[in-house]
């Protein structure tokens, strides 16, 4: 592997015909190219999912709106949720992981490069399958029909009687296929991090990025598999006449909920732990301090990983459980806030007394810190089962989980994008445009999702395609939709900034942030072999040791 890539001359690539270069991207097993493919794929679907969200918000801007039909509205929220979770956030996080993990642990590629490529193309195929439903959903008899069963697809709505045609099958198969891709990537992450570290990098000296992705990989292995199993069961029900979720034959619709959420809640942490990883890399560098409480960060993340497998039924309080079930899941939900809180304190501890540089990546991470705190607090509110009975399935819930997924995860993804963009492209982005992006998106985010809590408290249920005037919901829905305009403007600035920087951006240099982890020790963009000589490390901040030989970290660790 390494000997082949060493021979490849990167300068000669620029002069090859475009078809050859595209072909090289399709057949590549290089972790950096696959990482970029994952990220581009995720960004394309971000635009698609964003358009769906915009359609939802336009429909709800005023009462009795007729922008789309109820049927289209159902398809939009189903596709929006499924797309954003499985084909935006997961691929982007996997993309950063695939790109960064080998660089961060000082090796030349993932443990299984071909499995890496296979996993990406499975995920890509899964997304294509899901969106093919728009033209193939109704099979042979009629026009298109996307899935409209909601992103958690509760039974018995998914049974043949209520979901005729193939739309639900495209949903099932799309997630099944991309799920196999996710499991493959996770196996690769875990194996790479455990077996490919450069000399001297013991587990206690790994960057937090590697630690957190290791934990995330383990969680993907254990949490995506139940979804895979549940999707197989659903297919058996729909195609072979099985009765898993068929209540008329003694099956249980609640069992699907359990199976879905035993995947669904760890999934939230699967998404947020890599976001924690980005914050844990970015905040120290822009605070000019090493991360505060490294071992505690690792321990807290492991705790989160374990506890996240015991909280799933807090999504089901309103379904009705025994008082023991309610108590247990309320308790575990409260407990998981403890390690999460520890992490927030550690990030603040890292910033405390540091020389904070308010560059775009840091701005997004500070936004993440505060928004994640609020998301956690509304999470605790919803985790208390009596409160949940009041607000379950309302817009309060929608606002809460968007606070997590947009306010915490998407914000850190944007931060990570600006932080590693110079490494990936070799170009520097425009800091002014990045600040514009941050403030526009920040304002848009808060307009949309702060005010979305209120109609929820006032009783507006989620997933309704329109509402009566005179319930006090109008003004809030209007503000929420206005916020979308700012978010779109922010994302447009982001896209423009990226495209402009790729063409006109100044050269970034190897280490534009004066950072301390191994990815900044190689050129930008890194050569195909990553490191001409495999580095050897003695501390958690190997580049600090090189830059400050008079006061290296390994003396104190």
């Amino acid at each position: 592997m390494a000997s082949e890539t060493l021979a490849l001359d990167t300068i000669a690539q620029g002069t090859r015909p475009i078809a050859d270069r595209l072909h090289a991207w399709v057949v590549t097993v290089d972790h950096k190219r696959l990482g970029i493919l994952y990220i581009i794929y995720g960004l394309v679907f971000l635009v698609i999912g964003g358009i769906e969200a915009t359609i939802i918000r336009i429909q709800l801007i005023v009462p009795h709106n007729h922008f789309v039909s109820p049927q289209v509205f159902n398809r939009m929220f189903t596709m929006h949720g499924t797309t954003m979770i499985f084909f935006v956030i997961m691929p982007i996080l996997f993309g950063f992981g695939t790109y960064l993990i080998p660089l961060a642990i000082g090796t030349r590629d993932m443990a299984f490069p071909r499995l890496n490529a296979f996993s990406f193309w499975l995920t890509a195929f899964g997304g294509a399958l899901l969106y093919f439903s728009f033209i193939g959903g109704n099979g042979l008899y009629g026009a298109g029909n996307a899935p409209d069963v909601g992103w958690f697809a509760y039974a018995p709505l998914t049974s043949r009687a209520f979901s005729p045609g193939h739309s639900t099958d495209f949903w099932t198969l799309g997630l099944l296929v991309s799920g196999f891709g996710s499991i493959g990537t996770a196996v690769n992450f875990v194996t790479t991090i455990l077996c490919m570290r450069c000399p001297g990098m013991t587990l206690g000296k790994m960057p937090l990025l590697a630690w957190l992705n290791l934990i995330m990989g383990g969680m993907v292995i254990l949490a995506i598999s139940p979804l895979t199993a549940a999707q197989i069961m659903l297919s058996i029900d729909r195609y072979l006449g099985g009765h898993f979720f068929d209540t008329q034959a003694g099956g249980s619709a609640v069992l699907w909920m359990h199976f879905f959420w035993i995947f669904g809640h760890p999934e939230v942490y699967i998404l947020v732990i890599p976001a924690f990883a980005f914050a844990s890399e970015i905040i120290p560098v822009f605070s000019r301090k090493p991360i505060f409480g490294y071992p505690v960060m690792v321990a807290a993340t492991i705790c989160i990983g374990f506890i996240s497998f015991s909280v799933w039924a807090h999504h089901m309080f309103t379904v009705g459980m025994s008082s023991y079930g309610n108590t247990f899941f309320t308790m575990t939900t409260m407990i998981i806030a403890v390690p999460t809180g520890i992490k927030i304190f550690n990030w603040i501890g890292t910033m405390w007394g540091g020389k904070i540089q308010f560059k775009a990546p840091m701005l997004f991470c500070i936004g993440f810190l505060f928004q994640f705190l609020i998301a956690g607090l509304t999470g605790i509110m919803l985790g208390a089962s009596p409160f949940n009975w009041q607000l379950g399935n309302s817009y309060f819930v929608v606002a809460h989980f968007h606070y997590v997924i947009v306010g915490a995860i998407l914000f850190t993804i944007f931060g990570a994008f600006y932080y590693w963009f110079p490494k990936m492209s070799g170009r520097m982005y425009s800091e002014t445009l990045a600040k514009w992006h941050f403030w526009l998106f920040f304002i848009g985010f808060h307009l949309t999702f702060d005010f979305m809590h209120i109609p929820g408290i006032l009783g507006m249920p989620r997933r309704i395609y329109t509402y009566e005037p005179g319930r006090g919901w109008e003004i809030w829905n209007l503000i929420v939709t206005v916020g979308v305009i700012f978010q779109i403007a922010g994302v447009l600035v982001f896209v423009f900034n990226v495209l402009r920087s790729l063409v006109k951006g100044g050269t970034a240099g190897n280490d534009p942030w004066d950072a301390w982890t191994l990815e900044w020790s190689t050129s930008s963009p890194p050569p195909e072999y990553n490191f001409a000589k495999i580095p050897a490390v003695r501390s958690r901040r190997p580049l600090w040791d090189i830059k400050h030989p008079e006061d290296p970290d390994w003396k104190y660790e």
């Binding site: 390494a2 443990a111 196996v187 194996t191 099956g251």
Partner: protein, 198 residues
């Protein structure tokens, strides 16, 4: 395997990391175990909840012979890998072949059982909840046996071609982990389906 490429005399001469294949296989097994867990949970949850017959106690017989075959194949694959590690390629080929044969007997046994259930007892996957959960769980396991047999047969073909050398014992050992896993799952399936669920 990977540790050799990284060995740098400068700092830590004995920088040893776990084997990639082993960690990768254990990760895969963890994922598979989670899938099986969900199917086993569904089976247990639906035990005795079928609204119509046939019920497990009416139609299921204990597949003792099958079970003995599959479980002893764990021993034979262990002996095969051990023989290869000691550079006895002939003995390896023999034990490897016995493993495949035992796996094939098991699969044929499952096939016979299904044929009897479908054509004599009238139990299909859509008959009742028992049929749905039974064919799914046992079928998922049988599917893993088939995948295992394909992988083992590939090893057999390489052995016939004379390509298998003692230095490949590590790889075949990793493959044997998968086979052990398939056997271990059968112990659970057997207990749940044929002992507890009957």
């Amino acid at each position: 395997m990977s540790s050799e490429a990284f060995a740098q005399p400068s700092i830590e001469p004995e920088w040893v990391l776990p084997s990639r294949g082993r960690v990768g296989m254990f990760s895969l097994i963890a994922a598979e175990a989670a899938i099986f867990t969900i199917f086993v949970v569904a089976y247990i949850f639906y035990t005795g909840k079928s609204l119509s017959g046939p019920m497990p106690r009416d139609v299921l017989d204990l597949p003792i012979f099958n079970t003995v075959c599959l479980l002893s194949s764990s021993l034979t694959i262990h002996l095969a890998v051990k023989a290869l590690r000691n550079a006895k390629v002939g003995a390896f080929g023999l034990w490897w072949f016995v493993t495949i044969a035992l796996g094939a007997i098991f699969l044929a046994g499952t096939g016979r059982e299904w044929q009897r259930l479908i054509f004599e007892k009238g139990l299909t996957i859509s008959t009742n909840l028992f049929g749905t959960t039974y064919y799914s769980l046992v079928g998922l396991h049988a599917f893993h046996v088939i995948v295992g047999l394909i992988a083992l047969s590939l090893g057999m073909i390489f052995t016939f071609l004379g390509k298998v050398k003692p230095e490949h014992s590590e790889r075949l050992d990793i493959l044997s982990l998968y086979w052990h896993f398939v056997d271990a799952v059968w112990v659970i399936v057997f207990t749940v389906v044929y002992v507890v669920g009957r």
